[in-house]
């Protein structure tokens, strides 16, 4: 669990929507509905979903429940297949040569743009089947009292995947607590205009 490491990196969110009392009863089921699905035996490029924060292989929360004190703690697992550009280049050239030879046998000289794109796609799919997906796990810690959520990544693309999956799973919107939104949460409606019209300080 990354939050237990000596140092941790994360961003903060706050729920925009209210959470009903019934929500927490349905929560484990909602997690399961969007649990991570393995793609080891496929040639899919990417898969993501929720896993147990204590064990990324536990997608059914058999080892421990997702509740820890006042927190709900789970993790986003994101598996991605990556093909080295050098490997792709080599196999694309091989496939290109094969196709060119077939074309010449048919009395044709050129490969069309569409055929080139199809060839790229087919080489990519073939190589995906040979490549194992690389797993990555990002902790999610939800303080159920403050409805503040800590997400264990600061990478924009990963944050976007998390925000979308969170909404699809729980039907709740999140605000990333950047300076503007944090100020809005702290100060409330009274200061909305002041924040919307905020001008930078001039210190010199």
């Amino acid at each position: 669990m990354a939050f237990l490491a000596q140092t941790s990196s994360f961003c903060r969110y706050k729920l925009v929507d209210e959470v009903s009392r019934e929500f927490w009863q349905e929560f484990p089921e909602k997690l399961l509905e969007h649990k991570f699905r393995e793609i080891d035996n496929t040639n899919e490029e990417r898969s993501f979903g929720w896993v147990n924060i204590d064990n990324m292989l536990d997608v059914n929360w058999e080892q421990s429940p997702p509740y820890k004190g006042e927190f709900a703690a789970f993790a986003l697992r994101l598996d991605t297949r990556r093909i080295s550009p050098a490997v792709f280049k080599k196999h694309f050239r091989l496939a290109w040569n094969d196709l060119l030879q077939k074309k010449q046998e048919q009395g044709k000289k050129n490969i069309s743009k569409q055929e080139k794109n199809d060839l790229k796609e087919s080489v990519k799919n073939k190589l995906m089947g040979y490549t194992l997906p690389v797993p990555a796990v990002f902790d999610v810690v939800w303080n159920r009292e403050s409805n503040c959520i800590y997400f264990g990544s600061t990478r924009q693309k990963v944050k976007e995947i998390f925000e979308e999956l969170f909404y699809n799973s729980f039907g709740l919107h999140l605000n990333n607590l950047t300076p503007y939104y944090l100020a809005g949460h702290m100060l409330g409606e009274k200061y909305r205009d002041a924040l919307d019209n905020y001008e930078p300080c001039v210190f010199v």
Binding site: S9, C11, K68, G69, Y150, T178, P179, A194, L195, D196
Partner: protein, 177 residues
Amino acid sequence: MSETVHNIEEKNAYLGQDFLTWLWFCSESNNGQIKDRHGQEYLLYLEQKVTVQGGEGESKDTNVSNGQLSELKEARMGLRSGKKVNQAKVKIEQDSEAWEMQLKAENFDFTGLKTPKVEMKVEEGEDPDSRFLEKMFLIEKSLEVIDDLYLYFLQKRLGPEWNQELSDMKKWIQSGE
């Protein structure tokens, strides 16, 4: 909050940089002594590394200082030329406990947040989640300190006291070596 994405990014940068620059001033002018919402006292100071940035687009210019507070000369010189803090390592101390974190002005993401040490060994019969709960308590404690200071800054910045604070900050920036 009805701003466009571009406007929000701009506001984030303005608010975050103004806050971190003020935090440096606040820490130095109080010898690092601060209080949280419960009246608890802490020591807070900026450490290596502090990055100041000015300008926009291609004219964007950055100075980085690696060193203790008194040695952050490059960054201090940057402030005098109109740059602002856009990233800082913040260290918080209370009694024998210490926290440190790298804070980015543009989004308030926390990197490398280090809390006081938590004993990882679970004794027999102990709650297996006790280490996690202790660690989260310590993480949230440091976030509370930063949040309290941010709220204090916002209230000053948007209130009638700001002109005096700004004047003091200008003096501090000009007096830095």
